[in-house]
């Protein structure tokens, strides 16, 4: 497990980040979390599903990148083989650290409030995406954020709000029980692959809905 450090100009002033080349082992994944806001770009190039987070059991939206654990068919010798790259891939090797909301002494019961508004970037300086010689500097000489870092900061803050929106859309789908499990059977030249634990929107149920589409309302007027 990589050791994460909170990013600072003091500790990481000389660090450079390598963009457009996907070297970090964390890119070798067969599933990437994606956001509702990027679906229009993703839909042309990626198979999209819902899946349950192994940590929390909560539904998430994902692009399928490969058929087995660790297999990323979109990755070829450090190059990403599609026009659009999911935001959650783009933001790597940076990670956003959002402090856990203060817990009361009593066991928390009921729906959580998930409205995180701020976080702090963290890095694993040993990642092959970082270098002291190659790539773009994170900080200017005076310790202010260089354009490369500013790019990642914008990306991460966008992800933070996009994931809130995504969560709210998924919650509406789950509340109306609009998701259903699917089994994906893929026949390849030398193997038959069966993928379980994927979910998709039940179109029949979706079309059967009456009344207003509440999730559209919900994120037009965030309360």
């Amino acid at each position: 497990m990589a050791k994460l450090q909170l990013l600072s100009s003091k500790a990481h002033g000389k660090l450079k980040v390598i963009r457009c080349e996907y070297l970090d082992p964390s890119f070798a994944v067969n599933l990437s979390t994606v956001m509702v806001s990027e679906l229009t770009f993703l839909a042309h190039e990626y198979p999209l599903f819902f899946y349950k987070s192994a940590r929390s059991g909560e539904f998430q939206l994902a692009a399928l990148l490969g058929f087995e654990s660790g297999q990323n068919l979109f990755l070829d010798n450090g190059n990403w083989m599609s026009r659009y790259v999911p935001l959650d891939i783009q933001r790597r090797p940076f990670q956003l650290h959002v402090p856990e909301p203060q817990k009361s002494a009593v066991q928390s019961v009921g729906p959580r409030s998930n409205t995180h508004t701020s976080g702090h970037l963290t890095v694993d300086p040993t990642s092959p995406q970082f270098s002291f010689t190659k790539g773009e500097r994170l900080y200017n000489e005076d310790g202010t954020a260089a354009p490369a870092l500013a790019h990642y900061q914008t990306l991460c803050s966008h992800l933070l709000s996009a994931s809130e929106q995504t969560r709210s859309v998924i919650a509406t789908l789950v509340d109306h029980e609009l998701l259903e499990a699917v089994e994906l059977n893929v026949t390849l030249k030398n193997a038959d692959i069966k993928l379980n634990d994927l979910y998709t929107v039940n179109v029949k149920k979706l079309n059967g809905l009456t009344g207003k589409v509440t999730w559209l309302n919900r994120y037009d007027h965030p309360s």
């Binding site: 059991g57 009921g110 789950v174 029980e177």
Partner: protein, 582 residues
């Protein structure tokens, strides 16, 4: 014209038909009269007396399963509970049946787990039952396919496996040994990769059921003590006279609600002026006191203390040493000189109690035995509070008499060795829902079926519990006497004779919805060291399938920890994230 004329003349008689129509006076004329009564006597108002687990579970199941009749105003349910009546509150272990029951009632598993200190129970473990030394065997909830036909049992006996029977064909003992949960956070509500029931806090459970019944299932709730039970001359219960304690109780409830600040829950539907409650069918959930069926209608117990000796229990709650301490997946039952100790793991504490017979030990020594048991894991016993329960093991000679049916402890009570109390409540309420009598006149037929079914079920439960004792080789007087011929029911003796040369299978348990199936008997028999001497070689196909299952289970066992997570970690996740509904 004639018919109308006849009916017109009958009307004045209706009010007091009891003494006038003697039972012997069944002339053709009275027959006609009964027909007339039938038309005007539908069962519309059901009154449940008693608000413990039995009362609210019964109310919930009935109101959920008969909800369309409630919506059509064809049926009402009212539960009346005494505000100052303590519940027995030790009904902490139950069966996988509770999953479908809660699903039917419409409570989400996440809410249930969060509100009732719930843990997933995966079966029972019997420690030192076979003998005083290091013996133990398991009765897991997972039942392998074909177990009812005895496939695995025959294979196990024939191949002389050295793996204990319960671990040969199912994973549950291995899960329990490592304190692993039967499901993951990604597993939908009410399902699991291994079978499970629950350990829970009975007081909190009754509270959750009450809120759900009142808020979502249109069950009317009256908080008042029953002062007097009013009977018709024919013996039927026509109503209850309630004590004036009402106002006091209401004020108390209000103060409580204020203190807890839960404005979202509606106050229970009560009528402060109500002193008289009438009904067509009365369900006695009044616990040991059996106020309606026992005290009012005079139905006696069938005592079984000559078969099952335990008649006392002393119980307490033991905290965990740290909030990281593993939680047991099985209800542990550890044999003692004059009974056995239950140990039920909840996320926040253990419920522990000694069930014993006062013919073999006294209360003082029993408490010492329990203290010694607790001190093995938990040093401080000074701060523990103990609760003493005395009971006469047995069940009612009739569960349904006139227009009154008893469900829960009022129907009977025996030692909770296989946690059969709650499942009997579920089965009773389900049968009542399925065969709900349309009229007072058809009630007698349903009552007869109900009485037959539950007398059979109680006898089978008693047989099964007794089996645990009969198989023991322990040597104290309590255990020796438990093996005495005269204490063993004839039905059990016959089964034991059969099983000398065959394995328990479906043919031995012919009833629909047997409480304990053949697989349960196999787990206990072969767990406790009993060997059926099969005189014929089992069918090769059966053997091959069982051998395959055996190998795959043994293979799985080694990789369990990669896949499953601990009980405690799953419970914590559910508190934090909840379970998905699908």
């Amino acid at each position: 014209m004639k018919i109308f004329h006849g009916a017109f003349h009958l009307l004045p008689v209706l009010g007091n038909y009891g003494p006038i129509f003697g039972d012997l006076m069944l002339s053709s004329q009275t027959f006609k009269r009964q027909k007339c009564v039938q038309q005007s006597n539908p069962i519309k108002h059901v009154v449940i007396v008693g608000g413990g687990t039995a009362g609210w579970l019964t109310a919930g199941l009935l109101a959920a399963r008969l909800s369309s009749r409630i919506n059509n105003s064809e049926l009402t349910f009212t539960l009346c509970e005494s505000p100052d009546m303590p519940t027995v509150g030790v009904g902490e272990g139950n069966w996988p049946t509770l999953r479908s029951t809660l699903h039917t009632i419409g409570i989400s598993e996440t809410d249930f787990i969060r509100h009732c200190n719930v843990l997933f129970k995966q079966g029972s473990r019997f420690i030192h039952w076979e003998n005083e030394h290091s013996s133990q065997y398991d009765h897991p909830f997972d039942v392998p396919e074909q177990a009812s036909h005895g496939a695995q049992a025959q294979h196990w006996l024939h191949t002389n496996k050295h793996v204990p029977f319960s671990q040969a064909y199912c994973l549950q003992s291995a899960l329990a040994n490592q304190h692993l949960a039967p499901k993951l956070i990604t597993t939908p509500e009410y399902s699991g990769f291994a079978n499970y029931g629950y350990h829970l806090d009975a007081g909190l459970f009754a509270k959750l059921l009450r809120e759900h019944c009142v808020n979502n299932l249109q069950v009317k709730h009256i908080s008042a003590r029953v002062k007097h039970v009013i009977q018709d001359p024919n013996g039927d219960i026509s109503g209850l006279q309630l004590a004036e304690a009402e106002a006091k109780a209401k004020a108390k409830a209000k103060a409580k609600a204020k203190a807890k600040r839960v404005p979202t829950t509606k106050p229970p539907t009560t009528n402060s002026l109500l002193t008289h409650l009438t009904g067509d069918l009365f369900i006695d959930c009044t616990g040991f006191s059996a106020l309606l069926l026992g005290k009012t209608l005079g139905v006696k117990n069938t005592p079984v203390n000559d078969v099952l000796f335990a008649n006392n229990a002393i119980a307490t709650h033991v905290p965990y040493a740290t909030d990281q301490e593993p939680i047991e997946s099985f209800t542990l039952s550890t044999a003692q000189n004059s009974g056995w100790i239950w140990d039920i793991g909840l996320p926040n504490r253990r419920g522990v109690g000694y069930v014993y017979s006062d013919r073999y030990t006294d209360d003082e020594s029993a408490k010492d035995t329990l203290l010694q048991y607790i001190q093995q894991r938990h040093q401080d016993t000074d701060s523990l509070a103990f609760k003493h329960i005395r009971f006469t093991p047995g069940y009612k000679q009739q569960f349904w008499k006139h227009n009154c049916v008893a469900i829960g402890l009022s129907a009977g009570f025996i030692e909770p060795l296989e946690a059969s109390a709650i499942v009997l409540v579920e089965m009773s309420a389900n049968m009542l829902a399925e065969q709900f009598p349309a009229t007072r006149q058809s009630m007698g037929i349903v009552a007869e079926r109900f009485n037959q079914t539950f007398a059979y079920r109680w006898q089978r439960i008693i047989d099964f519990l007794k089996l645990h004792y009969v198989l023991s080789k322990r040597t104290s007087a309590f255990w020796k006497d438990n093996r005495a011929e005269r204490s063993i029911p004839a039905s059990l003796k016959k089964l034991l004779l059969m099983w000398r040369h065959k394995v328990p299978d479906i043919a031995d348990f012919p009833a629909r919805d047997e409480v304990f199936q053949a697989a349960s008997y196999q787990f206990v028999l072969y767990g406790a060291g009993f060997k059926s001497n099969l005189l014929c070689t089992p069918d090769p196909q059966t053997m091959q399938a069982a051998e395959q299952l055996f190998s795959s289970i043994q293979g799985f066992t080694t990789q369990l920890t990669d896949k499953a997570i601990s009980n405690r970690s799953l419970i914590n996740k559910i508190h934090k994230f909840g379970l998905q509904k699908f």
